[in-house]
Symmetry: C2
């Protein structure tokens, strides 16, 4: 007789009945008179209790190995002494659907790099990591909900480009039917093209590729980007408002769905941010930091990681807020397509968003005036020829617009208090890591 | 005085008031005593009516060019004689935010290839194409709604791979810090790894890359794939059920939100499919087709495009249904990782889904037993070494599973009756097309 699958978290509803549970052997305790199997599925742990009887079932249970995939059919019975839900399964049949070899290649003491070699086992055995992917799902859905409610259109821009338009050095190059193609390091040029195509608000979640030999805890050669581009804005403030509202909505959704579980597994509290987020100009931020002894030489244009952490700490102390927009970046450290302030052409109408000291977003109003764009590209020493397809989008009625690019892994990293972007990815890619 | 932006579709609510409308010059009619500007934003068309008065406004309107991005501020007045909503805007100020050069590089008679060179203008000027992206947004959201309700997790699997595991010939190769990497031609291996990682149901929408020199109306070198993988299935039927339910839900959502507009712009009706979809084995399909004279030589293993169209027509006549699952593909035309039928090892537990004669999905139960998988790979002449990372996922308790890969562009193409996948993409990529 076939019994349909019941999730471990639903066993309580089936006390007194025979059910099948599908999952993995979490642990085995084979005692003199009793055999205990702790089963795990994606909803929880359950105890299977068998009294030795010299029968075939005893032999089957004895032969189980940790992490084998099994279907166990048995009666669910009340058992107040059992810590796992106060119930146990008395097995009637055990089916090994895929045995796990022994020993397992990793255990709970294995270092991160080796765990990444066996990421599927690492993820499967860590309830916190399972939770992280559930949080990712909810977070994305929350961002989409907000974006759709604002009238955004989900676009899928190409990752294959004919030229390394934005900046050649950090771009992967590939063979393409006898010529070269390049991997998009962001949807930037294409989402602007979508704005020129009359899409009012562009939303995209997809992979972005960076050929940077960076080995920090926050860089990857491939990561998931959340991209937004908004047409007909009155200024960069519209972009910041969109982002803070989108994040507040999505974080509230995560807190609601997973707040307790996150507190349990990651020992962090998810605080739903109030809006508006604090804003501070780069000049103000640097003034504050320098008073605290940052950059004693006084030649830094950008914030370094230490500066990001310090200014976030300052804002947290001053306002209680975990987020801060740093605005008005100097033109020297922003790309040519960022619009410059009319009243101070040495700064751009741009921002970074920091969350608990980590940059999670870069955004800006874009320069949509063709002649100004050409001039700014020339000032950066860029030749217009390789990017003519991009520039053409500004010659036939491109509206004012601005947008943002957010790193999904960084948001998860900060939200869950992870040490490294490696742990916020399913299968991390870095200069030294292309597998599994 | 600043007036906030009003969408054209909302003008009726503002009759008697002064508003700003932002959009493009759709058409100009400059008559002897009157100037008419037809404005377009993403919500519709509106008429701007100005009586010549030798003033500065007259000169500004006279200098407008088609497709320029403009903000026009004026009074909304009732005008029963105006076809566009029975109202017009009497302008008070015109601001050209980005002028369009003349002449425009394409018009409504331009052939497809040249329109693709200027895709942003092509999309902007075609309300039907604008609608297509709205339909795409709704369709994806419908699929996600269904998948999430079933407990699916949104995963982002890497597009960069260390080896060309699945089949070397069709894979793009790139330089990667002194060695080679490859672009994933599907998330296949990685979504199976997610199943081995204990993710119960995997959902992903993302780019897939095919280095095939195919020049048909339905192939692209980069397209958006919808991927699903389900753990602990009882058989491939579970995968087909998931797909038909997901599609029925998503298509119903599209029909509800856009059915009327689709009928108007594409002259096709969106029929919400009933479930279950018809199913037919490959052997049955070929028998039916051969009776009709298909494949007179009698050596075809797979359906060719003509066969796909014919069998869909047959099913439509027999059952009234637009969809059909073709099941039990012979092992010779399926990859090594498809599970074979226990009662007939010459066929796989796999399917294609055809919609109105076009293949939109391939799916299968996967072989999760390590020894069987090794044997099937060897039979296909594949060496296990380059795919050891993949094979390892089956050595430590990988549950039974199956899934599907759907081409989003193909679904849009069939739904809207488009002639080519080129028109179902924002920026198409093919062997001869890497720009814009």
């Amino acid at each position: 007789m076939i019994h349909s699958r019941v999730h471990v978290s639903d066993l309580r509803e089936h006390v007194g009945r025979t059910v099948s549970v599908c999952g993995w052997v979490n642990a085995l305790r084979l005692q003199r008179t009793m055999q205990f199997v702790i089963m795990r599925d994606h909803t929880g742990l359950a105890q299977v209790t068998h009294k030795r009887d010299d029968g075939p079932l005893e032999a089957q249970l004895e032969a189980l190995t940790p992490e084998s995939a099994v279907r166990i059919t048995g009666r669910v019975v009340d058992a107040a002494q059992v810590k796992l839900g106060g119930l146990e399964i008395v097995p009637e049949a055990v089916e090994v659907l895929n045995p796990a070899a022994t020993p397992l290649p990793i255990d709970e003491h294995t270092a991160l790099e080796q765990r990444m070699d066996w990421r599927f086992l690492d993820v499967r055995r860590r309830p916190a990591t399972q939770l992280m992917f559930a949080v990712q799902t909810t977070l994305e859905q929350g961002m989409r909900e907000y974006a759709y409610a604002q009238g955004a259109t989900e676009m899928h821009t190409p990752k294959l480009m004919g030229t390394a338009a934005e900046s050649g050095a950090e771009v992967f190059q590939l063979g393409y039917f006898g010529r070269s193609a390049y991997l998009a390091q962001s949807p930037q040029l294409f989402k602007q093209m979508a704005i020129a195509a009359g899409i009012d608000k562009v939303f995209e979640i997809g992979p972005v590729f960076r050929a940077e030999p960076s080995f920090t805890s926050r860089h990857a050669t491939e990561f998931t980007g959340v991209d937004v581009e908004l047409a007909w804005i009155d200024g960069v403030e519209d972009v910041m408002t969109f982002e803070e509202q989108m994040l507040a909505h999505a974080i509230a959704k995560v807190a609601d769905a997973h707040g307790e579980a996150i507190a349990e597994h990651f020992t962090v509290e998810v605080t739903v941010p109030t809006t508006p987020f604090p804003r501070i100009t780069m000049a103000e931020a640097q003034e504050i930091l320098r008073k605290g002894g940052w950059d004693p030489v006084g030649d830094k244009q950008d914030l370094d990681p230490e500066g990001e952490r310090s200014i976030s700490t300052h804002i947290k102390e001053a306002t209680g807020h975990e987020f801060v927009f740093i605005t008005h970046y100097p033109i020297g450290i922003r790309p040519f397509y960022h619009m410059r302030a009319a009243d101070d052409p040495s700064v751009t109408l741009s921002f970074d968003l920091l969350w608990k000291g980590l940059e999670v977003t870069t955004g800006a109003q874009r320069e949509h005036r063709y002649d100004v764009l050409l001039k700014q590209a020339a000032e950066k020493g860029m030749s217009p020829e390789p990017m003519q397809d991009y520039l053409n989008a500004f010659r036939y009625g491109c509206p004012p617009h601005g947008g943002l690019g957010m790193g999904l892994g960084r948001v998860l990293m900060v939200m869950l208090g992870l040490d490294s972007i490696r742990e916020a990815s399913f299968l991390f890619r870095g200069p030294n890591r292309l597998t599994p």
